[in-house]
Assembly symmetry: C2
Homo-oligomer: 335 residues x 2
């Protein structure tokens, strides 16, 4: 009898602490508005046994764009900044680049010309400057750069220029049994060396653009050699394709921030049952940046959020998360 | 005091049951020979804190071939049998197939001619017969077939023709913090609908060959359409490439059974620290099949294990797991 009482008491302590944890706000850096409420409601309805929208854990797939969704993408995609450094380092071996775009623009520091080339030109630069080495050597180069290079405005490591509300959301989703994936136009091998540490997302759960790799024996050691040839562009209609290839399941939640994410959100929210599409809207020039051109914000070739995306969001019930109004805090280094 | 005593007693019960579990043989269907000992030793040395070969959980990646490694591949690859059924069903719409290989061979039931075409011809058939539908429709077709079709010799569902010793090994590895992946020459979308149920391996952890898919809006619904065009052959030197793409980490354990797995084993065992390469050797005609041609066994175009693979195994210290001698039990339906 004593034993039963004691067990009961242990159980109460356990349950009490359990419910205390549950009662804590899982998204403290989100303001209490419609976006936060929509997220909480969606997670509640898909993870509560007996709910008509209940989704079994194995189907709780959430995909996140990276640039502009999880970390800063202005004034330039971080990987592009990395690529610029690589081009400058490799330029002496490529005198022809002085006359050849987009290399000329990089060497001349003409960012406007460079950005005008669009994402495909960027992908080409990345393929060119990221190839001719093993995957393992590329990982070392990336790691060296990402642990030292700093953002020009915030003067912090790029991996510290990540959005705290999104880190909270990733953690919250995983605690609720979701598998979280990155689905980015960025290079898959550029992200993998640090996504576990920064986002808690392991390399196999990173989907991105890639160049062709080839299995080779180099000095008697088996390696993957990176060739200067584009393999896959994980952007726009490529995002659902990348999701099909790497995940093989239709996400029930997708979070993006630009026209490059439209098809991913269409695909995720186009299935049966409860679905949630979200878009970060960068409308906070004080704490971060403001660009659209939706809502009359300045146009941007990087992470463009045009009016038709805003219209599509309204039509499909996607949640537009305004940085200025929905996020209490943006960076960990903010006051 | 009572409380402390009671807590101590609870703890003893917990520890006792814990150690009972630990003491149980994790691989009861493996005979106690060098292969089983090598596996147990490898897992012990890589997962024990303080061991010089300790590997942190995030780097415990194990890759398994599927056909002939996890399930039966004779007398034909299971997916090929599935493809034959599809070709026969689609043949009335393709009169030209009566004169065109490899379709003619299928329609005529000439398996020898078909097998002579090799894996690339098979991949072509698969691409042709598996395309022109959405990924979701293909999943339904696959699921219908795999839950009803039976193996011609064992008269059991193909998903029951899986090797019990390997199921034990997959479970054991996962209990020890490994992530288990399939890396197969088979079609990625053919495997994903059932690998979670049969092997405990979720769709994102399946790597395989694929055809091109395209994002489309079909009747207003966003779908992935399967096109009749080969995307990737995940075989031989393609296996390390597929691992690089999907996993982004070098495995520390790889298990195959044929010359198609050689490069995967080279890649996995070519890294630093403790590594384990394993090959199933089908030398048990009574309980399963016997084919080589290594060791003088009959040659086979399906899952060929040539003498040079045996030599390479010896040279690299890969463990050759003889079905006849190393496996106490093969199928769950065995006595």
């Amino acid at each position: 009898m004593n034993t039963i009482l004691y067990t009961g008491s242990l159980l109460s302590i356990f349950l009490a602490s359990h419910f205390t944890i549950q009662a804590q706000d899982p998204l403290p850096s989100w303001n209490d508005g419609p976006a936060k409420q929509a997220i909480l409601k969606f997670v509640e309805t898909t993870t509560t046994q007996g709910s008509p929208d209940f989704v079994p854990p194995e189907d709780r797939i959430a995909t996140f764009d990276n640039d502009g969704t999880l970390w800063v993408e202005q004034p330039l995609y971080t990987q592009l900044t990395f690529a610029l450094d690589r081009v400058k380092a490799l330029a002496p071996e490529h005198p022809e680049w002085k006359e050849e775009q987009p290399y000329k623009a990089i060497i001349d520091g003409d960012l406007k010309e460079l950005i005008a080339g669009g994402k495909h030109a960027l992908a080409a630069i990345i393929a060119t400057t990221h190839a001719g080495m093993t995957s393992s050597d590329f990982e070392k180069i990336t790691t060296d750069w990402i642990t030292t290079a700093k953002h020009p405005r915030f003067h912090q490591l790029y991996t510290d220029c990540v959005y705290v509300p999104q880190l909270e959301l990733l953690t919250y989703l995983r605690e609720k049994g979701f598998k979280t994936f990155i689905v980015s136009g960025g290079g898959i091998e550029f992200m993998r060396p640090w996504t576990q540490r920064v986002y808690g997302i392991a390399p196999p759960q990173v989907v991105g653009s890639s160049i062709v790799t080839e299995f080779q024996m180099k000095d008697g050691m088996p390696v993957l050699m990176r060739l200067p040839k584009l393999n896959f562009v994980d952007d726009k209609a490529g995002k659902p394709v990348g999701i099909g290839q790497h995940i093989g399941q239709r996400p029930i939640l997708a979070f993006g921030n630009s026209s490059g994410d439209k098809e991913m959100l269409q695909y995720a929210t186009g299935g049966d049952g409860a679905r949630l599409g979200l878009l970060v809207y960068h409308n906070d020039p004080e704490r971060e940046y403001a660009y659209g051109p939706a809502g009359g914000l300045p146009d941007s070739k990087i992470g463009t959020f045009p009016q038709d995306l805003m219209d599509e969001a309204k039509q499909n019930g996607w949640i537009v998360v305004g940085m200025k109004n929905d996020w209490k805090r943006i960076f960990s280094f903010d006051e």
